[in-house]
Symmetry: C2
Subunit: 362 residues, 2 copies
């Protein structure tokens, strides 16, 4: 039996739950505002599509002035290349024959493809898969405090840039970092020191890519950067509100849920569990909150149930069968759980769109 | 471009990562062992398919002697009905016209369909959708300490059973609970008191369904139960080992991952993040461990990266490009992230199977 996705014009109150829904006006406003800011500081903007995995949203981002898109996996880049996007950065160390073969095919058909590397092993693998006829552009990923991947020092960045440049199939194209929250000064210090080292080594460094939604509005504090990448800003979420990066009314994704049980006077159970919200806490004590119901906290999740503590609520409490809107902790991971996304405006469904590359592995 | 799932005979070392893989021998052993125990205590066994969402695994469970299957969503039940399963219990309060219409269609074609209810609102909705020509079997869900859904007292269970019995379209068929870990005594006390109340009200109570993998091997401590439900036991995971319910060598699902970065002497980064492992902690301090690498702990996840702390490891450390096997905290939620599952035996791929009803919403 075909799955009955809501038709255009369906009131949100009639949308089957659990279902993430995207506010058309808020997403447009978020995209415009970020691009306007990047324009005002003379910074190229490269949105990360991992947050939405939607061709229409990436196209809106391009139409507003983005220079290209950012992907995290080869399959994401393939899907967006198929959808017509011509300038793609994959911010990942790509390893292994199968992925490298696909990467080469991508490089043959895209206008601009860039990847990152943070080790000689990654560089050696890339070098073996590409030739001078159509070299691959490689950025050196730097750890400027994020504590994830990346070379640890500006000197190591210069050394790896030199190694990349030594391979005819590769082109050293610059530096990239994903900083920790609030790390603008550290990012700037790392980038400027590495740029000085590269200049001394006579290596051009056209791209200096900085990133993150939590750092988006501090992008001007990193003057050495040429571009900024961000994903979450398009939807926003509780973590972005807490970081002071947006207001509650800038959150474009909510998850519609239905109260399926009211076992006690202070407990409600909704039909959104970890398979709809994910269990990302991001430092919060709860798994999300309920819009318009002050004090309601989602205190535990099982796979298909969310337990809501109502003991701190005043005013009328939701009853069994009532629909509610969950404000998620982290929107990027919610997208990954659903195959399609429902958009709305003025309380009615405007469209439904398939996600690209959801459920693909690499 | 088609996605290159591994062919039969592919060595696991050549499987593209990140990828969950299922050990054929371990899953068969887990299924046989649980069924043997249930047979030995004279308890019907009803596996929950939410853990695997795979027709072949559900069929193995039936072939070993399960009485039927347990689903959590209408779409799961539909997919397994399509695959030929005739006795399905949906352990969920089903609300709303759209879901009730689908539930009615399911009831028309299945040999046995049961659902649960824990409120008058749920019962009223069900009653309006079913008629005496083909009544729906309903169990009263009881909260025996799990703190999720369920009526709070045996007296409330009897009252709701009476309400169900009053509707010609519904048939009260018994009681169901999903207990907290180790709650056998509380479950038995609740069930036996409710059964006495039902007997006094002259209401037959043929089914008393108890559940949970953490309680599986304590099922004999609840003599009032007629059946037991469990999902996780089929794969097991770190949480089951910690609970003492299985040994490390009973874990049938691992996630193959590749080391993509070794930024520091004590840090490795793998290509399995929250979009491969989920961020379920289940009380652990880390997001999983690495099989065969004692002391390695996955200390943080971003969407496509897992950061592994190696500072407590002795012996050779993994290098960039090395494959490793992640032991997940919670297997049920990993299944939900992938569209297909890879099986193996003796280090080689035996088959690849599509999941049923992954990414469906309700």
């Amino acid at each position: 039996m075909a799955f009955p996705w809501p038709e255009v014009g369906t009131p949100l109150a009639d949308v089957i739950t659990p279902m993430p829904v995207i506010d058309e006006d808020r997403i447009a406003r978020n995209i415009a505002r970020a691009q306007t800011y990047m324009n005002s500081i003379g910074r190229a903007f490269r949105p990360h599509i991992k947050t939405h995995k939607l061709a229409s949203v990436a196209q809106m981002q391009m139409d507003h002035g983005a220079v290209g898109i950012n992907c995290q996996k080869v399959t994401e880049a393939e899907a967006f290349a198929d959808a017509g996007f011509a300038d793609i950065l994959i911010t990942y160390n790509i390893l292994g024959a199968a992925k490298l073969a696909r990467l080469r095919a991508l490089n043959d058909r895209l206008q601009v493809l860039r990847v990152v590397a943070d080790s000689e092993t990654t560089v050696t693998g890339l070098a073996a898969a590409f030739s001078a006829a159509r070299p691959l552009r490689v950025l050196v990923e730097c750890d400027t405090g994020g504590g994830r991947v990346g070379v640890q020092t500006p000197a190591a960045a210069v050394a790896l840039a030199r190694a990349i440049s030594a391979h005819p199939g590769l082109r050293f194209d610059g530096l990239l970092t994903y900083p920790a929250v609030g790390g603008a000064a550290r990012v700037e210090a790392f980038l400027s020191e590495a740029m000085a080292g590269l200049a001394a080594a006579e290596l051009a460094c056209p791209v200096r890519s900085n990133g993150g939604s939590p750092d988006l509005w501090q992008a001007h504090l990193v003057p050495s950067a040429t571009e900024h990448r961000a994903g979450t800003y398009v939807y926003n979420d509780r973590s972005m509100v807490r970081a002071g990066e947006c207001a509650e009314e800038d959150i474009a994704m909510h998850i519609l849920a239905t109260v399926v049980s009211r076992p006690t006077p202070t407990r409600a159970v909704i039909d959104a569990g970890s398979k709809a919200l994910t269990s990302d806490l991001l430092g919060f004590a709860e798994y999300g909150e309920i819009a318009g119901l002050d004090g309601a906290r989602i205190v535990s999740l099982s796979e298909e149930h969310g337990v809501v503590d109502l003991s701190h609520c005043s005013g009328p409490l939701p009853q069994v069968g009532d629909q509610c809107r969950v404000v998620p902790n982290h929107t990027c991971v919610v997208s990954n759980l659903f195959d399609r996304m429902v958009f709305h405006r003025d309380g009615k469904v405007t469209r439904v769109e398939d996600l690209l590359a959801r459920g693909t592995v690499w």
